[in-house]
Symmetry: C2
Subunit: 429 residues, 2 copies
Amino acid sequence: MPETKPPAAPIDPARLKAMMDKVSTFGGEPNGAMNRLTLSKTDGQARDWLGSWFRDQGFEQQIDAIGNQFGKLPLAGANAPVVMVGSHIDSQPNGGRFDGALGVISACEAVLAVSERLKAENRLSACNFQVVNWTNEEGARFQPSLLGSSVFAGAAELEWALDRKDGDGVTVRQSLAEIGYAGTDKVARPDALIELHIEGDDKLFKTGETFGVFTRYWGATKYRLAFLGQQAHTGPTPMALRKDAVLAAAYLIADLKELAGAHGLDLHTSVGRLEVFPNSPNTVPSEAVLFIELRSGSPETLAEAEASMKESIASAAAKANVGYEVRSIDRRRAGGFAPGLIKLAEQVAAGKGQSARRLDTIGGHDAVAMSEVCPSIVMAVRSQNGVIHHPTEFTTPEDQAVGTQILADMLYALACDGVQSIASKESSA
Amino acid sequence: MPETKPPAAPIDPARLKAMMDKVSTFGGEPNGAMNRLTLSKTDGQARDWLGSWFRDQGFEQQIDAIGNQFGKLPLAGANAPVVMVGSHIDSQPNGGRFDGALGVISACEAVLAVSERLKAENRLSACNFQVVNWTNEEGARFQPSLLGSSVFAGAAELEWALDRKDGDGVTVRQSLAEIGYAGTDKVARPDALIELHIEGDDKLFKTGETFGVFTRYWGATKYRLAFLGQQAHTGPTPMALRKDAVLAAAYLIADLKELAGAHGLDLHTSVGRLEVFPNSPNTVPSEAVLFIELRSGSPETLAEAEASMKESIASAAAKANVGYEVRSIDRRRAGGFAPGLIKLAEQVAAGKGQSARRLDTIGGHDAVAMSEVCPSIVMAVRSQNGVIHHPTEFTTPEDQAVGTQILADMLYALACDGVQSIASKESSA
């Protein structure tokens, strides 16, 4: 057994639990279900509570134009580097209590613990800490997801984001005004971003581990592709003369499955949506539109897969004697989280005798959006049975405390040593 | 050159052309387009004109409960065998003038010519002739097609047929009443049915021939098949754990194309309609419903193809790790037209130095429905460029006359020799 060190900045697990219990009252139900859709009344109540907590603890609150809620604790000079810590408190409909909320509440507890420790040591911090609660991470009420962090990182236009509508036609702009979170503060980009989140998968649960570090985020290349055949009667039309768009789709779908197999576990491929025209039982289809996704943690794999897919598209079209056109291409970059932050997380965990399993995140996190503009990381604590987006979503108070303590000790290290060591997004290897 | 005989019962080509011109005024447009949807106002006008022609020529008109219009010329005793001759005068929307109408008008002309010839020879007929105009052959306004002949042949229930609705919710029953063709006559099954039709394909046109005999009608086996997978996120769900219903569909669609290739020209396969659930770009499809058709002129090929398809279904499901269920199966029998009538048509054509190309009919004809209850045949005259269901559909007056003369001489032979030779549906070979 490696020697384990005591916490550098001890958190208060009871206080953490009390805060989690409190925030869960906003939109929470007795069965564990959480209904805190972004910018809803319950989201507004949770935000108000968080704002009052900021005030009580001496955090300076700021709200920006997309409603992102910030609370900065000035432990260093006004021009000192800023380390942002947090996640989101919006939830899926009938979702769970931990997805997002743990990241905001653990940030509050960790920054408070660091502040208390520095005070006890009568020590100045090398940086300031800023808790963040991002708007609309979930993308359940308004699309796309990661809206607040994407606007903050400059990947989405503010006006466009404010004009997004929910299913009832209500805009983000109206909703922000209704709950009083149409802010005007200009918040500068931080020097680093750290997010703690529940894993939302069962890798830690299955291996019996508590803690993990996401090292890579998967990218996605999405094609909307149309095969273009010719409408004809399925009865008399000779097989050799048919131009069947669905047949080409079939060849390509089978090829895409093969393609994933050829790349082991590092490539996911799918055709989740398929539109057929005219879609009549006795008519050879003239058009088949495929919504194709290629996903990988490796940019190289993604590029290789796209090149192979292009060959398969041409070959499927030729085999079925149809044409094709690419209607749209969306690309989300694959990449890695900041090596300096990964190293820091692993060192702190190791110091506590905690394993830190390296994980990929395939779905989105606000830290993925932020990763484009500053060194960023997402760390994970175990989800019981891997459940997420469901009332039975659960992470034990003990596991929450383990993750929060690692977070606090990382922040303490940055407070003592400064952010130089984690400033680069490039690998030191 | 073989010696050619003069017509046994000479038709009057000018009278035939005048009748075709007249019937084309009901729903016809200057550019050749025909709009005579079944039981429409123009269909009613064409029926009324045909009825008045029946009266003028001494034909006894009968209308049955599904609106089939019959005109019987009593040339023999009341208990003599009946040979029915005809087709349909309804058209597709924006269709052509010859599809169906030629079969009714040529029947009128042929029966009249036979009657005139018998009178001139002062000879009694061995059988009576009954012209028929079937209701809703096209299936354009009401589905299914072949409605009148199917009810007459007992393959469709009368009440069910009367309840069929068009796109505006109007029933067959209401439409029959509106144009005055809700008949009450009970019409007995004939001893034979002969139909002349335009080919509606380009086989005769390409070989430069005028006349053909359909010897086989294709059957169809139609499956509605659901592959049942499991909904999952297309992002994180490991490829190996996915149960992708569309992937199974893709495997099967490719197999069905192979299957057709393995049977040469004698098997047509298709999946014209494909329903995908939930059909969301980032969700692995949980259900894919395929509308499959197998078509062949050979009952054996159809049975073999179905057996192969069943293996492919099981294999596609296994490969994609999904289940499946057959939601419905429809079978339309493949078969042959009456050998005695085929022989008669070929002999009469040969006597005139006319080739009689043997053809398959893949789409439906009223004679296919009638084939289940009496010896039946469809004969074809050349369509220019193979066009059908289009304003440019055209069969020359000369070609119409060739087909009508062969029809008249066939009827004359039956009048002289009786129907014994063609009474069997079995081949004499």
